[in-house]
Point group: C2
Chain length 331, copies 2
Amino acid sequence: MSEIITLAHGGGGKMQNDLIRNEIATRFNNNILASLPDGAVTPENLVISSDSFVITPRFFPGGNIGKLAVAGTVNDILMAGGVPKYLTCSLIIEEGLEITELRKILDSMQAEALKANVLIVTGDTKVVPRGSGDGIYINTAGVGFKREGMELDRKRFTAGDKIIVSGNIGEHGLCVMANRYDLDCGALESDCQVLKNGVETVWSIAKNKLKFMRDATRGGVLGIISEIFENTPFNGVVEEAKLPVGKEVAAIAKLLGIDPGFAACEGCFVTVVADDAAEACIKALQTLPKHENAAVIGTVCEGNGSVELQGEWGALRKLIVPSGDQLPRIC
Amino acid sequence: MSEIITLAHGGGGKMQNDLIRNEIATRFNNNILASLPDGAVTPENLVISSDSFVITPRFFPGGNIGKLAVAGTVNDILMAGGVPKYLTCSLIIEEGLEITELRKILDSMQAEALKANVLIVTGDTKVVPRGSGDGIYINTAGVGFKREGMELDRKRFTAGDKIIVSGNIGEHGLCVMANRYDLDCGALESDCQVLKNGVETVWSIAKNKLKFMRDATRGGVLGIISEIFENTPFNGVVEEAKLPVGKEVAAIAKLLGIDPGFAACEGCFVTVVADDAAEACIKALQTLPKHENAAVIGTVCEGNGSVELQGEWGALRKLIVPSGDQLPRIC
């Protein structure tokens, strides 16, 4: 590992995973920390999660840093099998931020909290001098209660299980990227949203046939799938042509040379369900707004913890996850 | 209110209180948010708190930003009547931070977590480009469980109750300030510590005669006492000569012209207990390390929500709380 922190350590790739594993998780080592990537589940059946948001630009089509800070942490609780209930809101504001802008951000947070049926119950406000921040950074931590009977565990995978993606991919990452470089992104908006309805729909249909969930944030759908299969005795076989890519995302991805499979989503999740529940799940998801293009994109096969992409000729190639970051400060 | 955020909005004075009340609390309005200043108590008897830490310098005599981030949030849970159990750790790291420094900070966090008997169970790591941060900012959120029978409520105040401070005041603020300006501060260290032993000692002795607690962080002991009495039908009458001020703090305070009563503490709390429990509480506190100078410093009197300082002639003068900030980025 290099001796200083670089942007790649925050980019959702291998360098970040190594930093977290080798430097952080080893130090704070405990059984709960190890349990699930997005949130911790305690013996009291609390689900706890925390995320800091440093996105630039702070306002983007489809949302802003405040909406993202609420949706992101709520989604982490959902992905860890919890019903989100309480949020904290801690602000690090750079001197000079316009108070009218702060108000818009706070209003978005409250609006999103109402959609998610969570209460923002405590927080903290710090101000740093000009040049020591970038407008505003927001941390939200969330507390929820574990859904009874929902067992999210990769140990429950069996060959033949299906990999589902809940909607169009890469919309957040490519929207933010296009905005940052002043590209016209047409009707493209970030998919930033609370995933409550999507998760509850899948859960109500699949019940104990639901085996795992992850929202496809940093690293994108393919990065997340790669993490899901790591250290399992299975491979994820993904049919690349089935990844739902909207036409705006396709256009911008081509322009920038970015693989939308690795572009961040903020309103899309990957789930693994038993084969015989998969079709019913995607049919139900497709009735929900922003989930119209939910699709079965792959299958769990016996293997060695890799992801294989199946191209149009049926040939398989092993997926290599980027080691650094595709786009810093995406969330 | 001015139209942009200034450092004073983060300084623990009136401007910060107004920002939080008028812009934040009104938007997130709910019954739990209103309950206690340091942490939220939920109907399920969870105690939730969150703090971001932006202190500069990151290393100071007696601690560093990591130790502070754990002790600070643990103390908030304690002050809200909870037994702290779980912490989150979210890092915003500026590109270029030395990894050896990150390791020291993380080691301090874990060491302090062990002292507080809490587990760090989840977190998040973001990296921002050079110039968009200042080394490292840390957010910790904490979850604890309410102590059965502990009712911290200013409504329980009665005239004659005593105001106790748990030890020497102003040590964190003046130590950090001295270090920032390269002043020799002799043996002075920040008082940064987990207040678990102090709180449990007071609780075991006073039981339901314990009426309120606050740790004297931003705003210092006098700032905090002022907040405690606000909107109550009482005044806090504080005998200034009884405030325990160490000799190093006194020397630096004189040199810099700073009132140590408004200087931040990170290992000192103010508590209000019934008159007949006060002496036993301070005697027990005085047996604990860093609490040797615990003292009864004042009395609850009928009044109008003010704090009055009693000087050596017995005359009372009303305490005016600074509106801005004495020292930015103290925590």
